[in-house]
């Protein structure tokens, strides 16, 4: 699905990431751990192709296609969808209109907004006056409409209250597992929005969709099972392995210790 080879990325002329290699296969969900400001978001932004992030070396392939220099919208059209941490406000563009841009029909929009508890937000300008948690839910609503094959989530649970973490997690899981075909009212698959509340964690391997998630606390992993974790450190992927083990090690002893102690153990 996504293959990154020897990728170096610079921001404002300063190299943030060096020689990154990452391979996400269809159906796989990977997690990025690491301290703040280390380059996790930079990697995600480079995958999406945002202009500020200059690729100084290496290649990005998506579904076998070299997208290293492709414009953002082409990557979106190819099937990459992103939730950035602090999306801008688009004044005068309603969330409802935005859903249309993302490809949802008016009925789908109503339906999915209800699931995400965002009906009252549909006619407000995108992100205007939204709280942190509302932004996350609105981003997921847009991604539900966009139906990406590769889902990039940058800290999906930050700013989300305890009650809504499950909703955010399930929504992410829905995007990763739902079929591309629109769900009709009669659909009884658990992935369809109207069956959405009953969605338990789906076993992996059912879907060909992939994900890359940045998380600090890992709450999202209760709802979205991930199969590989990576610790980003000093501009590289310092080590990769089982995300649950990694998370508990980081929680107990911190990033640096885990990199020194654990990497060998986690190496596949």
């Amino acid at each position: 699905m996504l293959k990154i080879e020897n990728l170096s990325v610079a921001v404002n002329g300063r190299e943030i990431l060096h020689d990154i290699n990452l391979h996400i296969r269809p159906g796989e969900v990977h997690v990025l751990f690491g301290p703040n400001g280390i380059g996790k978001s930079t990697l995600m932004s480079a995958i999406m192709g945002f202009e500020r992030y200059e690729i100084t070396k290496g290649k990005i392939y998506f579904k076998g296609q070299d997208i290293t220099n492709a414009p953002v919208f082409e990557r979106a059209k190819l099937g990459i969808g992103i939730m950035i941490q602090r999306p801008p406000t688009i004044r005068g563009l309603s969330l409802r209109q935005m859903e249309g841009i993302c490809g949802a029909t008016p009925e789908e929009t109503e339906h999915m907004a209800e699931w995400m508890g965002l009906n009252k937000f549909l006619d407000r300008s995108v992100n205007e006056g939204f709280s942190g948690g509302e932004i996350k839910r609105s981003e997921l609503l847009q991604l539900m409409a966009q139906k990406p094959e590769l889902l990039l989530l940058d800290e999906p649970e930050s700013g989300v209250d305890v009650e809504n973490i499950a909703l955010v997690g399930r929504a992410a899981n829905y995007i990763l597992n739902s079929a591309t075909a629109a769900c009709g009212k009669a659909c009884d698959r658990p992935c369809c929005p109207h069956n959405f509340k009953d969605v338990q964690v789906n076993p992996l391997g059912k879907s060909n969709r992939s994900g890359l998630i940045i998380t600090h606390l890992g709450h999202i992993l209760k709802y979205v099972p991930a199969d590989t974790g990576h610790i980003v450190f000093d501009g590289t992927l310092a080590c990769s392995g089982d995300p649950e083990e990694m998370l508990s090690c980081i929680g107990q002893s911190g990033y640096e210790h885990c990199i020194h102690q654990g990497c060998r153990r986690w190496k596949k």
Binding site: E51, V72, F73, R75, A76, P88, I90, G92, I101, S125
Partner: protein, 405 residues
């Protein structure tokens, strides 16, 4: 008309405070009625009327007024609609007592050469009178059309809204597509009575070299609401106006919204003034302006003369081109300690992160920019009747954004 002819003739030389000084001599200001009905308008002319919100079949409208050059061509009130609509000149003859009370009482005829010129010549324009307690739901449409090259067009409008009355007006001003040059002078005096409500939505689509000099003053009494929306998206050489709203009764409210686009060669000097004369009055002036190469001067003044007034002024501009200019001059003038006046002004270009955000949702760069521009111009105007809101959105939808335009 209680005007002093001698003083007025002197005022004919009086330059306006703002805007380029216009010389009337090169224009034709005769009052010939060149066509007898809007059916005789060119196909292009009819299209322009539609563009500024005028429905030629008059179906959804309570009344219709059309002035072509300096003659009133259509003055129609739907059967059983309780309002008076007349040509101002005819109304002046019919109701001398109203002339005494209202004519030139909001706008001084000696303000500048434009008001003086209009006061001295034969009157045309619309007179609208809505009696106390009368609420009219379908909008009245009034159109002032320039059909003739080098025309000097004069308009004097008087609207009287008596206590508790309600009316929505679409005022569309346009010129025939064949008209390049011309001068339009529009004097408007609006009297909004106690608890009366008037929405005035003006859409302009003039010829490329036309100069426009509206002079508008609205006086709003206790509990009254005056809502003015101005939309100018098409290229026009030179517009200068500074509409004023005087809030003279407790609880009177004014809202002035403007949506302006200045292509290269356009000069828009547009202001908005609210004078809060008594306590408990409120005003809001919001302007969104876009320069695609032209100049926009955006003036705004909130004057709080009494205790406990509240007003907000907002002028935001987007520069889509390095050639243009947006000059925002918001002014606040508080005369007492207990008034709440605020303003917000921002001029910039489209933020790249907004473009990228929309690109990440699948729009190409141009479509993303166009979406942002349309959103920027889309002021959410609270309390606007649906038909007027639709007209504004429809007009905005026709606005195309070209990079490097």
């Amino acid at each position: 008309m209680s005007v002093n002819k001698e003083k007025l003739t002197e005022a004919l030389d009086k330059k306006a405070i703002y805007g380029e000084d216009l010389n009337f001599t090169s224009y034709d200001d005769n009052d010939t009625m060149r066509i007898k009905s809007t059916d005789e308008l060119s196909a292009g002319g009819k299209k322009k009327l539609e563009r500024v919100g005028i429905e030629l079949d008059e179906a959804g409208r309570s009344a219709t007024f059309v002035q072509v050059d300096n003659a009133a061509v259509t003055v129609n009130v739907k059967k059983d609609t309780p309002l008076v609509l007349m040509n101002t000149g005819d109304a002046a003859k019919a109701f001398p007592e109203l002339v005494e009370k209202y004519w030139w009482k909001a706008v001084s005829p000696e303000t500048d050469k434009y008001t003086a010129k209009t006061a001295l010549e034969k009157e045309t324009g619309y007179f609208i009178h809505v009696k106390a307690g009368t609420k009219i739901s379908a909008p009245l449409q009034a159109c002032v059309f320039m059909g003739h090259e080098d025309q000097l067009q004069r308009v004097h409008n008087v609207i009287i809204m008596e206590e508790g009355s309600e009316l929505n007006i679409i005022s569309g001003c346009a010129s025939d597509p064949t008209v390049e040059n011309g001068v339009h002078i529009g004097i408007s005096e609006f009297f909004i009575g106690k608890n009366a409500k008037m929405t005035f939505t003006m859409i302009h689509s003039w010829g490329e070299k036309v100069a426009v000099r509206p002079r508008t003053v609205a006086i709003v009494d206790e509990g009254g609401l005056y809502m003015s929306n101005y939309v100018c998206l098409d290229k026009v050489a030179d517009v200068q106006m500074y509409p004023t709203c005087r809030l003279i009764g407790k609880g009177a409210t004014a809202r002035l919204n403007s949506i302006l686009v200045a292509p290269e060669g356009a000069h828009l000097d547009i202001g908005g003034k609210a004078i809060l004369e008594v306590s408990g009055t409120k005003a809001e002036i919001i302007t969104r302006s876009i320069s695609t190469g032209g100049t926009i001067i955006n003036r705004g003044l909130l004057q709080g003369l009494a205790e406990g007034v509240r007003a907000h002024l907002e002028c935001n501009g987007l520069m889509l081109n390095d050639k243009g200019r947006i000059y925002a001059i918001p002014e606040l003038d508080a005369h007492t300690g207990n008034s709440e006046l605020s303003h917000e002004a921002a001029v910039g270009r489209i933020a790249p992160e907004e473009i990228e955000y929309l690109m990440a949702r699948g729009l190409d760069e141009e479509a993303a920019a166009a979406t942002i521009v349309r959103g920027f111009l889309n002021i959410n105007i609270e309390g606007l009747p649906e038909s007027l809101e639709k007209k504004i959105t429809d007009t905005l939808d026709t606005f195309t954004y070209n990079k490097g335009m």
